[in-house]
Structure formats: structure tokens, C-alpha cells
């Protein structure tokens, strides 16, 4: 039972961290990044290299993966997405470019995996670093990776709130997301903001990859396997909200782990490979029933409240004015 608890919470938290990054870049560039999971796989291999090849603590891989995956995301944004946007490419071209980058990264990551195995004779496929972790309270106790994962997710939720609502950089970021051209006329350096967001998104995915390999397994094929799950998490939460992403990621992650174990009890072990179907169904149901995701329930209420306040203000002035793109 405790294993399912750890499995569920670690997986769900890792998924939530990935969903936050995906939603962040989606909010900023309006492009769903099909290469997002490859940032996480790079993190996994950073963990493998740091621990098994260089013989250092696997936890040191967290900052290294943050930097490496962040740099990769930054490259993707600056070297591909921005160039295409400047050329006024269509949304579909941009999406295809992210898929193409994903294909490219599958090649790179597999070459890294093969290279590690052939050069250092270290198992680099379906590897797990669980045995390197510290377990507090001996066998059957509390694994450190569990604590670190929880702390990371909580820190992310709080840190994002602080950044976006308490610093003027974060406020500029929200402003630039809402209306890029206005931000530019007001002298806000939107380029720096967007680059920062992409770096953060990639870096977080890299850290998620490290944690993933310390409890579950690391393998290049996970890029394709996890992709529907993180999209499902982001969409269930509401694609363009980072808090929705945390909520959606946790929900989808937990239902994936718990749902699979329930189905194993009911139907038998053959259901294990079909696990990716669960988040996919969650996504489809969301798209059919509530395309704006769970966060839509909250924003709808807020929007209505705002419109009422605006109407009250106008009535006080005794003036009816034309709508000026409000609520758009």
C-alpha cells in the first residue's frame, strides 16, 4: 500500500512539474511543445551520468539537469520558435517544428544512451537509480526522493506565486503574456521575459526527469510514452494556466497510478501496458465536457464578477460606453 502511495505521489508530482512547464511555454508562445518530455529525458541522463559515470551524488544532478535542460529549451525557443514566429509561420508550422525537434531529440538521447553503454559499460536503458537513494528510517522507511519531490512541487507552487504576483519582473511577465505589443510600447523587454520562461520550463522538466529516474525508470522511449500524459494533465487543468497545470498534473498522475492498480485487481496484470490509455481518456472527456479545463470553473466566476464591477463603475458615471475588447 505504501508503495502505491509513493508511486502515485511521486509520479503525480513529477507530472505536475512537467505540466507547469508545458503550460508556461504554451501561455507565452501559444505553441503546444511536443518536445517538452525530451527535456525531462535529458535530465534522466544527466542523473545517470552524474551518478554512475562520474560517481557523484545523484542529487547533484538536480542543478546540472536544470541548467542543461533549461539551456536546451532556450535553444529551442531562440533558435527555432522565435525565428519561425518572426517569419510569420502558421501555428501548424510551429507545432510541426516542435514535433520535428522532438524527433531530433529522440535521436540525440538515444545516441547518448548508446554512447554511455558502449563507452562506460553502464546500463543506460530502462535503468533506475533507486538503489542510490537514501531511505530515512532504514528499509521500508521514507525515501529521500519522495521528500525532495514534494518539496520541489510545493516550492514551485509557492515560488511561481511569489514571482508572478509579488515581483515587478513577474508582473511584467503576466503583462507580456496578456498583451505583448502593449508591453513593448511600455518599454518592457519581452524578449528577456520569454527567454527566461522557456529556460525555466526546460529546467523544471530536467529536474523532473532526475527525480523520475530515482524512483521509476529512465529510458529514451519515455519521451513518447509520457507525452500524452503531460498533455492530458495540462488540458484537464486548463491549458493556459500554470495553477491549472499543477492541479491537472496531480489528478492525472494519481488516477494513472491508482487506476492501473485497481484495474490490475479487477482484470489482471495484462492491463499494465495499457496504462497510457487512462490519461488519454481523461483528456478526451475534458475536451468533450469542459474544453477550458478545471480552471475554467474558477475563471468563469471571476470573469462574471469583474464584469459586474465594471458595469457598476459605468453606471456610477452615468455613461454607457462601447465595449473595448474587454474580456477578450
Amino acid at each position: 500500500m505504501t508503495i502505491i502511495l509513493f508511486d502515485g505521489l511521486i509520479y503525480a508530482s513529477v507530472l505536475a512539474v512537467l505540466c507547469v512547464g508545458l503550460s508556461l511555454t504554451y501561455k507565452i508562445t501559444s505553441v503546444p511543445n511536443f518536445a517538452h518530455t525530451s527535456f525531462a529525458i535529458l535530465g534522466m541522463y544527466m542523473a545517470l551520468i552524474m551518478s554512475k559515470v562520474l560517481g557523484m551524488s545523484v542529487y547533484l544532478a538536480l542543478p546540472v539537469a536544470f541548467a542543461a535542460s533549461g539551456a536546451l529549451a532556450l535553444f529551442m525557443y531562440y533558435g527555432i520558435i522565435r525565428i519561425l514566429q518572426k517569419k510569420k509561420s502558421s501555428l501548424i508550422s510551429l507545432i510541426i517544428a516542435t514535433l520535428a525537434f522532438d524527433m531530433f531529440m529522440i535521436g540525440v538521447l538515444n545516441i547518448i544512451a548508446d554512447g554511455i553503454r558502449n563507452t562506460y559499460q553502464v546500463n543506460s536503458r530502462d535503468f533506475t537509480l533507486r538503489s542510490l537513494d537514501i531511505v530515512i528510517g532504514g528499509d521500508g522507511g521514507l525515501p529521500l526522493v519522495f521528500i525532495v519531490t514534494m518539496v520541489l512541487l510545493a516550492g514551485l507552487a509557492f515560488g511561481l506565486y511569489y514571482l508572478l504576483y509579488r515581483t515587478s519582473f513577474g508582473m511584467s511577465m503576466r503583462g507580456a503574456i496578456e498583451n505583448e505589443s502593449l508591453a513593448q510600447t511600455l518599454g518592457i523587454n519581452t524578449r528577456t521575459i520569454f527567454c527566461f520562461a522557456w529556460f525555466l520550463s526546460g529546467g523544471l522538466a530536467g529536474m523532473a526527469g532526475v527525480l523520475m529516474s530515482m524512483w521509476f525508470q529512465g529510458d529514451p522511449s519515455l519521451a513518447a510514452i509520457m507525452l500524452p500524459s503531460i498533455f492530458a494533465g495540462s488540458i484537464v487543468g486548463g491549458f493556459s494556466s500554470v495553477y491549472g497545470a499543477i492541479l491537472g498534473g496531480l489528478l492525472v498522475g494519481i488516477s494513472e497510478v491508482v487506476g492501473t492498480s485497481v484495474l490490475i485487481d479487477l482484470l489482471g496484470y495484462w492491463v499494465i501496458p495499457y496504462r497510457p490509455v487512462i490519461p488519454f481518456i481523461a483528456m478526451i472527456v475534458t475536451l468533450l465536457v469542459l474544453p477550458g479545463g478545471l480552471i475554467q470553473l474558477i475563471t468563469k466566476y471571476k470573469k462574471r464578477k469583474n464584469i459586474t464591477m465594471k458595469k457598476a463603475e459605468e453606471e456610477k458615471e452615468g455613461s454607457k460606453e462601447e465595449e473595448d475588447g474587454v474580456g477578450a
Partner: protein, 341 residues
């Protein structure tokens, strides 16, 4: 009599070209003309292949006494037995193949509809994600549901041309595939030049304008998805019957979704001739690469298959940046008048 290696090379090239031409024409209908980014093209192709991996066994079961042999468990022995029957009764192939094609077309069309249903009313990116998901799922089913097409090991399937002597069989297969591809090319070209084709491009360019014109754009997209699903399944049937087997692992995103995208974007979107050029170019290059691959093997500290991913991914990005309209860009097309005559 052994075939000349050059003949094998060209025969294989023609066959693979024909398979991809069918698939790319179908993707071009969805993506090039209607603007639906089908990131799950593999769904229809795999469905067609899986039908080819099951229906002929059922059909021949009526004609041949299997003697308790199972299509998956006793695969080699059973295929051998069926091939012997085909050699003796060539006329049986026609019925079996036609029925298989009809089933595949039906399944492909239904899957095209079903996979588009959840997100067809939403923005293009939601649709892309949903379709990608469907593509992943059919692979999971194919790999894990062993009774379907043999799971991870795959299966061999009866050779529809088993009645021919070996040296003719190979080139005949290539020729039949090319004929199928040619007919489909002409049909698609006719279709895209018709008023319906014009409507398709209108759907892609401006949903809103089309709605105000009173045309139901969702209905049009559904029809295209169905049609493209049917054609994709035909491509799957053709490929499976050409290689005489179905291995679920082979129906991956790179080869049956991404590669078709690369081919039609390099060739020229929404331009059937462009698709022809792009397909020919890539099939030829990839054949040459595979041909010379063996000489590289062992020199590199990794599996050369990954260079495919690097090259195709990198090339796609470069094309999108430097030549987004492909070799043969879309041209304003002369379409027939809506009023006949």
C-alpha cells in the same frame, strides 16, 4: 533464377514509393487542403495493416481446413499451408483481397471519424494532440494484444501472389502497388480540383468566413478525416501485403506520421504534384541511405537508426525555416464551376 540487385533495388523503390504516395496523398487531403494537423496518421496506416494481418486468415479459414492451427501461435506453418492453397487456387486471392480492402477502408474511415470527434470543433493544436494520442494507442494495442497481430514478435501473413513463380512475383507486386497508387493519385487530383476541393481550402484558410457562408465546416472536416482515414488504411494494407507480415513495433510515429509530414512539406503542401516529388525524393534518399548504412555500422558507437531521427528532425526544421512552401508551392488552382456545363 536470382534477381539482379539493381532490379531488386528499383522494384523495392517503386513499391515503397507507391505505399508512401497513397499515405501522403491522404495526409495532404487532411493537412494540406483542410488544415487538420493529423499527428496520428499512423492510426489509419496501422489499422489497415492490422486488418491485413487478421481478415485473410479468417477468410482462408473458410476455404482451407487449418487442422487446429492458430494464425498467431502456429503462424509459420499456417502461412505455409495457406500459400500452398493460393498456388493451387489463384482465383481465391481476388475475393479475399477485395474483402480485406473493404474491411480496411471501413475501419480506416471509422477511426478517422472517431479520432477527430473529440477535438474537431476546437483549435488546431488540441486536434493535433488528440490525434497523436490515438496514434500512440493503436501501437500500444498492437504490441500488447498478442491475438491481434502477434504482439511484439509480429506475424507473417499469406502471400497474395504465392501462385506466381518467385522471379515474377517480386516485380508484379511492385507493379500492382504502383497501379493502386496511380489510380488513387488520379482520384485525389480530381477531387481536389473539384468545387469540394475549393471548399476544403476555404476551411483551412478561414473557418469563420466559411461559417458565414453557411457551410458547416465541421461536417466538411469530418468528411475529409473519414476519406483520409480510408486512404491511409489502403496504404497500410498495401505495405503489409508487400512485406508479407505485420509487426506492430514497426508502426511508429517517425515512419508513418512524421516522415509523411516531411515528404509533403518538402514537396509542397496542398499540391498533389509536390507530394509526388517529395515522396519520390525521400523514398529514394532513404533507400540509398539504408543501402549504404551497413558500411557505417560498427564505425559509430551507437545504432545508426538514430541518425535517421537526427537527419529527418533537423531537415524538417531547416525546411520550415528556409523553404516553408516546399519545392512546388501551392498555386491558385483552376477549379470547375459549381454549375455544371
Amino acid at each position: 533464377m536470382a534477381l539482379d540487385p539493381a532490379v531488386i533495388f528499383i522494384g523495392d523503390l517503386v513499391a515503397i514509393f507507391s505505399v508512401y504516395l497513397i499515405i501522403n496523398l491522404s495526409l495532404n487531403l487532411e493537412f494540406g487542403f483542410a488544415g487538420v494537423p493529423n499527428f496520428g496518421k499512423v492510426l489509419a496506416v496501422a489499422a489497415g495493416a492490422f486488418v491485413m494481418g487478421t481478415i485473410p486468415f479468417m477468410m482462408f479459414g473458410i476455404l482451407v481446413d487449418y487442422g487446429g492451427l492458430e494464425p498467431v501461435d502456429d503462424n509459420i506453418m499456417l502461412v505455409h499451408q495457406i500459400n500452398a492453397y493460393i498456388s493451387a487456387h489463384p482465383e481465391s486471392v481476388l475475393g479475399v483481397f477485395v474483402v480485406t480492402l473493404i474491411v480496411a477502408v471501413a475501419v480506416g474511415g471509422l477511426l478517422g471519424l472517431a479520432s477527430a470527434y473529440p477535438a474537431i470543433r476546437l483549435r488546431g493544436d488540441y486536434l493535433a494532440i488528440t490525434l497523436l494520442g490515438f496514434g500512440e494507442i493503436i501501437r500500444i494495442v498492437g504490441i500488447n494484444h498478442t491475438p491481434l497481430v502477434g504482439g511484439t514478435l509480429g506475424i507473417s501473413i499469406p502471400d497474395m501472389l504465392a501462385f506466381m513463380p518467385n522471379e515474377y512475383r517480386f516485380l508484379t507486386a511492385s507493379f500492382v502497388l504502383l497501379a493502386f497508387a496511380g489510380v488513387i493519385y488520379l482520384l485525389v487530383a480530381r477531387f481536389t480540383k473539384s468545387p469540394v476541393g475549393r471548399l476544403l481550402r476555404a476551411t483551412r484558410d478561414d473557418d469563420l468566413a466559411l461559417q458565414t457562408l453557411g457551410r458547416d465546416h465541421v461536417k466538411i472536416k469530418f468528411k475529409v478525416m473519414m476519406l483520409a482515414g480510408m486512404l491511409g488504411a489502403v496504404g497500410g494494407v498495401m505495405y503489409a501485403s508487400y512485406v508479407e507480415g505485420v509487426v506492430a513495433f514497426g508502426y511508429d510515429r517517425l515512419n508513418w506520421t512524421f516522415l509523411p509530414f516531411v515528404m509533403i512539406i518538402v514537396g509542397g503542401m496542398a499540391n498533389n504534384k509536390g507530394v509526388l516529388v517529395g515522396t519520390l525524393l525521400f523514398v529514394a534518399i532513404r533507400k540509398l541511405v539504408i543501402y549504404y548504412n551497413d558500411s557505417l555500422d560498427g564505425l559509430l558507437p551507437f545504432d545508426i537508426i538514430w541518425l535517421d531521427y537526427l537527419a529527418l528532425g533537423g531537415l524538417m526544421i531547416l525546411v520550415l525555416i528556409f523553404r516553408p512552401h516546399g519545392i512546388l508551392p501551392e498555386r491558385p488552382q483552376k477549379t470547375e464551376s459549381l454549375e455544371k456545363g
